[in-house]
Subunit: 596 residues, 2 copies
Amino acid sequence: MSDYRPPVSDLAFILEHIVGYDEISQFPGFEHADLDTVTGLLSEAGDFAAEVIAPTNRAGDTHGAVRNPDATVTTSPGFKEAYAKLVEAGWASLPFPEEFDGGGFPAVVGLAIQEMLLGANMAFSLAPLLTQGAIDALLHYGSAEQKALYLPHMVSGEWSGTMNLTEPQAGSDVGALVTKAVPRDDGTFGITGQKIFITYGEHDMAEQIVHLVLARTPGAPEGTAGISCFIVPKFLLNEDESLGERNGVKVLSIEHKMGIHGSPTCVMEYDDATGYLIGDLNKGMRIMFVMMNSARLSVGNQGVALSERAYQQSLAYAQERHQGAAVVPGGIVPDAPIIDHPDVRRMLMTQKSFITALRSLMLYNAGETDRSVHHPDPDVRARATEVVALLTPICKSMGTDLGNELTSLALQIHGGMGFIEETGAAQHYRDVRIAAIYEGTNGIQAADLIGRKLGVRGGASVIEFLAQLRELDGELAGAGEEFASIRSNFIEQLDKLQQTTNWMLRTGAGDPAAALSGSSPYLRQFGLVVLAWLLAKGALAAAPLDPSVAETRLVLARFFAEQQLPAASGFAAAATAGATDLFALDAGQFADLVSR
Amino acid sequence: MSDYRPPVSDLAFILEHIVGYDEISQFPGFEHADLDTVTGLLSEAGDFAAEVIAPTNRAGDTHGAVRNPDATVTTSPGFKEAYAKLVEAGWASLPFPEEFDGGGFPAVVGLAIQEMLLGANMAFSLAPLLTQGAIDALLHYGSAEQKALYLPHMVSGEWSGTMNLTEPQAGSDVGALVTKAVPRDDGTFGITGQKIFITYGEHDMAEQIVHLVLARTPGAPEGTAGISCFIVPKFLLNEDESLGERNGVKVLSIEHKMGIHGSPTCVMEYDDATGYLIGDLNKGMRIMFVMMNSARLSVGNQGVALSERAYQQSLAYAQERHQGAAVVPGGIVPDAPIIDHPDVRRMLMTQKSFITALRSLMLYNAGETDRSVHHPDPDVRARATEVVALLTPICKSMGTDLGNELTSLALQIHGGMGFIEETGAAQHYRDVRIAAIYEGTNGIQAADLIGRKLGVRGGASVIEFLAQLRELDGELAGAGEEFASIRSNFIEQLDKLQQTTNWMLRTGAGDPAAALSGSSPYLRQFGLVVLAWLLAKGALAAAPLDPSVAETRLVLARFFAEQQLPAASGFAAAATAGATDLFALDAGQFADLVSR
């Protein structure tokens, strides 16, 4: 039996009741993707994730990817075989256009399946995830010829993709990159430079790797305004489109990381490699953002996925492990499983409520992505685009910050065994830690929220979103006494979020340093309120359904509203404190208490 | 140059101004340990930690302890040599009685030095730390003969000590242990059984290992009432007290852990090993608690120590690493070090304020330990004993929960480099993770606070402690406008803590499950208020001192009071929510959302 149980019923519930999937399935082109079909697909994909991918997870950790002396990379035991099965089954191609041999399913379905692949094996599933980012970039900006040449192979997974942004001196500051792209007479470019942190930059699972590389042409403007994006295939293509000779790109080394050992994180050397410009010269940042936005949601999804897997393991352990007597309501259970201890219950409820809330958040955002592209009404599309922009940094940061915290709770439930690697709980905790860092650190997400997203339409966009949250008040009021505490806590915290938001909007323009100083606590406050909203929506939707499901959703929403949500206002003071105290100490004083 | 800078000036400041060390140094027996002498000692010990111990830290991680086929254990490169120097320098023996060749210094001095040893290399410093626990047990309960035989060697460090509690089925539930102790005609006992998670159960740094082992004699009562404590030396002692033949104890295996690889965590097999009873039969739990209480404070200290080391590293990185322009108050800094980014500042300020607050907490508690033993007034001794009992679970949990969070912030500041093992930031994050688990999980600490400590003198003990905190109000009021926001935030949160405490006291007796359900959030709420109190005390004490020091302490106290402390009341709702929602879901419903 697999040790990963795909959360199919929760995914299907959220699609139906929170995302409003029925509407999405009626958009043109999604006629074949009704909810029943999708639920069946989720179930099949879940089986695949549990039975084919999940068993490779431990080996990925204990036998990480290895770079060989001939600059090839051997992936972890079982990865190559599992990848072949993934390509064969076609799960990764589901959300791409049928024109390029994709399944033509909505993005939200792709994200749901992606969670299960990530939960089964995050390190493995980064290969299709990065490929997806490259596909998105080509779909948006590739020429017709480029699309025809690359996309069918990439959509199927026969060819994988990478994103090459980072250089040693250019991390968060992408504009500092120096990789050169020298135009050649034949219209191609000679790409030369070193890129670091390239996920699956080299591996043995796909026959071809399509690198998307950011570089500068001679004389290009400084900073981000002079960056162009190039396709650099590992193997050049022959006239008949078969794989030809090796291009001038190779892996120099792979990193020794705290987690996701199965994912080769490569230092790549480009030595006059042949590159093909995508889109316009000096417009590479636009293309990068297409890759990034899709990737940021997927990274948030990683937090959910590993939290789910860690939760399942901790739940099983809490039910199996007996340690003494437990004090429970109304009495004492002798020789109790540790799930009977109130504090262990708290850790489990915290995990479970956050996980379903975060999953709802990721899927909600993906559903808005589908609306932003496919809804027949342009006003709805425009509004959905704004919501996606607003929620993406929240998805990324909340998913990954909570990913760290929830996998830590799962580890904690195991007691001393949690610290022993063979237990597996530590792997989830180590693996997920990168997610708060890559694709823009969570600090950058918070800056993005404050700096780019709050100001949309002079603040009207975020204000409308908060108004949308408030619409739930009426429904909660009409739902009876059981929802009273959810309603009161939610509205109280929404009011406070409104106040903090008003402060941010007032302050941001005139004193950006003050607004940025509160960006991370503000994002957390915002995120907690949105999570409570989504759980409350779920509980309301479940009320008329099967009593056990209705009770579970109600309890989770109430626990969250009463016991987790109150933390939100605790972040308000820090969000609105301004920059003074953060900048009060000079470098010497920061070190002062530890010097002599 | 060492990459660890011992926090001598902060330790000395806290000793003088928060612990009230001048009073302690006047207790009988501490005449040689005045503040100047101690400050000099801290400085020397800090140099030793930085220059001798700290350089062994990476090798401890990359080349962990290894068990050899002959059941010996080879420790990490450099450990044996560093240990010999530690013994020679005598730093570990400082807090023990001169009668047994110790330095006769107060416990608080020992804890201050311990922090620097732990910060230099936690895995290494667990050897003297565990020895200290064994010494404490022998000091309290050993016979005169046992003390004379073992203590001088253990105090010097020539012999190390271990604590053998845990068995596979007996972790948090110590009473479930089954290791047998069969009396022999000569008054010794034959000890047989298996112990797990034995820190430094076998190693090559000391010539002798003195195991303290909990076991049951035939016919002993069940549970904790039938546990006795035995000395089981690795080598039996000859008549002339020289080391004789091997005793029947050996290491079966060492664990593969997420962190502290340099510390051999042993599975120990006792096969009719010769043991010597300590204290009375069936009173082993008392002895264990002596070891435990000292160890719990030391484990909290581990969180502080690694947070400090991680902070130093992240501060250095934030000053060195340049990434683009930063928005600072009043303008933009081009090509800025990342310390100029407001959110990076927030992460540094969060670390720094919590670290000095937590350090103050550990030392305050250790100072109370000294008062509880050495103060001439028995009433003061009795009260100090209560305060130590109350604060110990808070020290352990806050120190280690924050240890996880603060080392995570330090890692985060490194961006992608933080996830690369060679950077070293990940090691601190991995190493510290065990501290929230061992010596009683933090959940057990919270249960201890609620179940054993709040009820002391019918609640009067904790109420008096909160009244002691409130005494600061007058001082803050008299300190001027600069302290106004510290005062208002502190009193607001103290009031709320008082309310939560009253709820706990009312509820605990009649509905223990409800009180236990809120135990962890209550501990956090309590801890945050105590930390704010300690920082405020420090700021008040610093006000008349050097202006730079005064400003630093004021800013840290104000940042904490305004921006971190408000989170405290966010835990009040969860602390007082009762057990209902935690016990609303059955096992099936806990799994429900993930089953199909």
